[in-house]
């Protein structure tokens, strides 16, 4: 009896261990590894062009894959909702590349790693991607603090990273050859935010004397809040900034202080789950988006998760990066269709779109250079003209046209100059992100803003 119990315990312990290892191992996902049987079928199904390729190219698809790394926050305290969206989009990119015959006739292996939104974790996973997995380029990336840390590893190893959603200005202003970015600059986003706030005041007659900014104490949140504060001051608007740790849950104390400030508008720069927690707890306390005009964080555009976590979030203004839906190009439309099929979402988040583009940019750079040497890929990226889901992507400020020569701030180094930024508003409870009203700028406007709390 005692023996059988011991055996049961051992068996259960082994099962437990196996599950833990499986779960931990699940933090890295790979796709596109050569599978002798599955791949030809995928090619036939998804890419007619690939079926017409010569037989020797089909053989090449069984060659060693080209490895591309992908960064996404897939567990807390990172913005998991955003990370999962990015992961899905990057998987689509890898599948598309393989379906059309890979790159240089070789299959693409996408290695997705979980940054958890933590710089130390970001450094570790980029180190591993480069030195253990042997990737030739890296895409994705959500948190600025991860980007700030990871760029040093990329520089030390000479491997390019195309950042998709890291906004901190210094990521590009340090002018590393290896670092490219298709996300907007934090300072430019702050400028749009403040222009929108001024527009609310000047064109819509909204009372706007004081703004409360809720930010996170990260490499994204602090500079973003400082930029916004400075620009608001220039516009004659007072502001108070409250800063919290990434992943903060309990905002009760801060919300009482926000209340005491009697703000005319609240700007939420805190990302991920913290932004959901703050917005709903503020709503419970009577200063939510239905009581005080509130700019919610862009993670609110994941509408299913937003409405589940912030049921009182109607009237949130949300900053949206990328062109409005009606201006999507063919690449974006195809991506949205595939994304909808895989995830069931009506619209694609801007950072998912940018993540897709980041992988496709690296792929085109490899094709253009005809090489998997990171140095050649960097050269190709500097000269690239890529039609992505975000539109035509180039990096006009580079080694051949330095910031000094171009007469621009160093932050424009290897920076995609044209990410469109709009402000949308949820105007119906439970609304899908794709149906939100574009309220700013007037060029893209689809409706007037609903301004709450005005007497």
């Amino acid at each position: 009896m005692a023996k059988s119990r011991t055996l049961v315990r051992i068996a259960l312990f082994l099962a437990l261990l196996a599950l833990i290892l499986t779960a931990c191992g699940g933090q890295t996902e790979t796709v596109g590894e050569p599978e002798a049987e599955a791949e030809p079928a995928a090619q036939e199904e998804a890419a007619p062009a690939a079926t017409e390729a010569p037989a020797e190219e089909d053989d090449d698809m069984t060659m060693e894959p080209i490895k591309i790394g992908a960064l996404a926050p897939l567990s807390a305290p990172g913005a998991v909702v955003g990370g999962e969206a990015m992961r899905d989009a990057m998987l689509i990119a890898a599948d598309e590349l393989n379906a059309r015959g890979g790159i240089l006739g070789r299959p693409v292996e996408l290695i997705i790693v979980d940054t958890e939104g933590l710089p130390e974790r970001g450094t570790a996973v980029v180190e591993r991607l480069i030195n253990q997995d042997g990737v030739v380029g890296i895409g994705g990336g959500y948190h600025s603090s991860v980007g700030v840390a990871a760029k040093e590893v990329a520089r030390d190893n000479g491997v390019p990273i195309v950042f998709a959603e890291t906004w901190n200005d210094t990521i590009t202003s340090v002018q590393y050859d290896e670092i490219f970015r298709i996300a907007p600059l934090s300072s430019e986003v702050s400028a749009v935010d403040v222009k929108f706030i001024q527009w609310l005041r000047d064109e819509n007659g909204m009372k706007l004397d004081k703004v409360v900014i809720l930010t996170e104490n990260t490499d994204y949140g602090i500079p973003a809040a400082e930029n916004t504060t400075a620009l608001l001051e220039g516009a004659g608007i007072d502001s108070v900034t409250f800063s919290v740790d990434i992943g903060t849950q309990d905002f009760a104390g801060i919300i009482e202080r926000v209340k005491a400030e009697s703000p005319d508008l609240i700007v939420t720069l805190a990302t991920g789950e913290a932004s959901y927690n703050f917005t709903q707890q503020a709503a419970d306390a009577g200063i939510g988006p239905q009581d005080v005009p509130t700019m919610c964080n862009q993670v609110s555009l994941v509408s299913d998760a937003f409405w589940e976590n912030v049921p009182d979030g109607n009237n949130c203004f949300v900053r949206r990066i990328g062109l409005p839906v009606q201006l999507y190009n063919d690449v974006a439309q195809a991506l949205v269709a595939e994304y909808a099929e895989r995830t069931g979402k009506d619209d694609i988040e801007s950072y998912a779109m940018a993540s897709y583009d980041s992988i496709m940019l690296i792929a085109q750079a490899i094709e253009d250079s005809g090489s998997t040497d990171p140095a050649d890929i960097i050269d190709a990226l500097e000269n690239i003209e890529h039609m992505g889901a975000l539109g035509p992507i180039t990096f006009p400020v580079n080694r051949a046209n330095t910031p000094e020569q171009a007469g621009v701030d160093p932050k424009w180094w290897h920076q995609f100059p044209d990410p469109a930024i709009t402000i949308v508003q949820y105007q119906v409870e439970g609304q899908a992100a794709v149906d939100t009203t574009v309220v700013y700028p007037s060029t893209y406007q689809t409706g007037d803003p609903v301004i709450v709390g005005q007497e």
Binding site: L19, S75, F251, A305, E308
Partner: protein, 413 residues
Amino acid sequence: MENAAIFGWALLWILFWGALGGVVTPRIYARKDLEISQASFGGAVIGAALGPLSLFPLWVATPKITNRLIGIGIALVVGLFVAAFALADPDNLCVVNGSFVVSQLTNGIVIGIIYGLMALGLTLIFSILGVVSFAHGEFYMIGGMVTYFITARWLPGVSPFIAILGSCIVTFAIGYVFERLFLRPMGSGKIERPTEYAILVTFGLAFFLQYFTQALTSAVPVKAQRFFPFPRTEIPADSGALLSMTPGNITILDAISVPNPRFTAAVLALIMLAALLWFLFRTWVGKALRAVSQDRQAAAVTGINPDTMNTLAFSLGAMLAGLSGASLVQVFSWLPQVGIPAAARSFVIVVLGGMGSLPGAFLGGLIVGLVEAAGTGCIPDATRAASYMPAYGMVILTLVLLLKPTGLFGREL
């Protein structure tokens, strides 16, 4: 802070005389062959409160240092601290806005009650098994997840009480099975280094539960809807000056404002606490549990099976964590990793209150809740007030451990 020097000098006064009292008093009491167990802590708080005005009479008269004397000392220290703060920063919201202060205190008490409930589970496990469960945060997470899935996915519209009961059953069952399979061998002497074994095996459980839940539910945050939305009410009807309720909030006397989810979570926690106290003090099994926690061998002599009590204690402790999670899943967005900060806070509370002390755990929860609320509300720098939140409990813990290494209600070794 306008007059930071005033606050700085007051702090210096408190620290200097507190340290002097804490060091010298036990020596004087020892020289006179008097009881010294409370001398260091008592001397420190009495010295910090009034400095030489109280210390010298204490050293001369050497009265018995009672809990009452310590209580008066603590009240005076808090009073001195608050007065210095008010003089140093006269425009601070915590000084000029009574409604704000009451709201912050209420928030602190409300969250402190829930912290206390969770920490009670941890201390119950420690007091009986002598094991620190590193999986406590994961039981908290599972309690919330089960409640969410029952109310939102599996049985939408069902009473939240059913969902909470479901959480209790699931967490109790996991705790039961785990204790029987992995902790029971410790008691039979089969494990060579039981302390290290307990740490490792509960850590393993924590990882397993976290990632297993993530595999089942994904890492996208979820949240249960308010359990009991308030009816819209105003008393008196025209002004609501006495009581005003909206579905999401209750305001009392136009001053105390508590969001609905927190209010209901705290009420649920209080009910659970009352039930737990009744169970521990009024039932035979509860008394048996307490007996085992006091003296395992003596309890065994009276016919109580310590192994059964171990299993019950671990299962109950897990269930209490699950209950806390079930109460709070309507307050916070819920993720598989949501238990990590909650568990860290519970460890602080348990050590602060005294390892194994049930009243200590509850009082520790209240203290941490209040200190966090005060720190977040009163620290003048808005960019730092909330960022320091995890540190507030640690500061109090450090101070208490310096003066009373066994914690507030810990047993003397």
